[in-house]
Symmetry: C2
Subunit: 202 residues, 2 copies
């Protein structure tokens, strides 16, 4: 199946549009995102995407799903490069989360955009659930337990997620200084020094 057999019938337009959409997103950001430019980038008419995604939110949804998968992949990759020690793996996962957010800021923001109006598609929620379970497994391993086994386990997972997520968001918004995203050692130190702080009732 050649990439382009003829002018009509692209062959794998859906995938091509998602690829192009991802590229447009990193180059121009979400605010300047345009369906017509994505179509033009693939070399297809401006109305072609409608048949595969309905309207623009359909493409956005597909991009969100891919983004979530990439986020999970980044966590896994960083974790696999770490020690077997459970806590080190948790830290590594968090650093993978951070690295993805900073490498693909627009995609990251897109994933966590306001889904208050239209609920995210089932595929997106499923991928989000997978990422959540990954974290839950990390956290549980630190306690030497099964994921979500004991009371308050869910709170622990959310405590972890919100911390990592908050750091990522504040860095992206420019409110928080951070070392170059590829300086592993510096980010490791920065992350631990914030992640591990504890507040006490005086």
């Amino acid at each position: 199946m050649p990439k382009q057999k003829n002018s009509y019938h692209h062959g794998d337009l859906r995938r091509a549009l998602i690829d192009a959409g991802e590229a447009e997103l990193s180059e121009n950001g979400l605010a300047a995102f345009s369906l017509r430019r994505v179509a033009a980038r693939v070399g297809v008419s401006h109305a072609a995407p409608a048949h595969h995604f309905g309207d623009v939110s359909g493409l956005i949804d597909a991009l969100a799903e891919r983004g979530f998968r990439r986020l999970l992949d980044s966590m896994i990759a960083h974790q696999e490069a770490a020690t077997d020690e459970p806590y080190e793996q948790l830290i590594a996962s968090g650093l993978g989360y951070l690295h993805f957010a900073r490498s693909h800021p627009a995609l990251f923001r897109l994933i966590f955009s306001d889904h208050s109006g239209a609920a995210p598609s089932p595929e997106v929620m499923a991928t989000a659930g997978a990422a959540f379970m990954h974290l839950a497994t990390n956290v549980a391993a630190v306690h030497g337990a099964a994921p979500l086994a004991h009371d308050g386990a869910r709170d622990e997972v959310m405590a972890c997620w919100t911390r990592v997520h908050g750091i990522a968001e504040l860095i992206l918004s420019g409110m928080m200084d951070a070392p170059d995203k590829d300086d592993k050692a510096a980010n490791d130190a920065m992350f631990r020094s914030i992640f591990e702080v504890q507040f006490r009732t005086s």
Copy 2:
């Protein structure tokens, strides 16, 4: 100075546009934000805002500044309704942050949108600095010290900020369940149970 002396020369158009922009933001969200609708809402021609804000990002910037001020106000208000105990004041500030985020989601997202391209205006950064200092004072009081006095104090403040911010963002994105935003007791319990979790090296 009457609100409307005649058709031309509105009198206080800049303020009126910011008011209308804020209303539009809460009603339709950032994605559907339109300069022309804001102008129409005030009863002014579609090109009138340009004279006061340049382009659309000028109005957005003004809205961000107002939003930051409202965020700080919400923190202060909640804190003043709490005990004198420093840690309780810190928690109350966080709950005020959360309450603002959930009461004005679009404005909250706007404040922390991607400023990577154009730097936020000096006014916005100044207001953001005031919010940061408020938190720094809270955190320092827990340790019975002056703001940012000791080594690592900045990390402690950022640890606090990122935690509160992460909770707010994940709730807004729909990734985290939370009690009704006006149920004070339930939110207090939820917030503490996440904020106070500590992770240890196994």
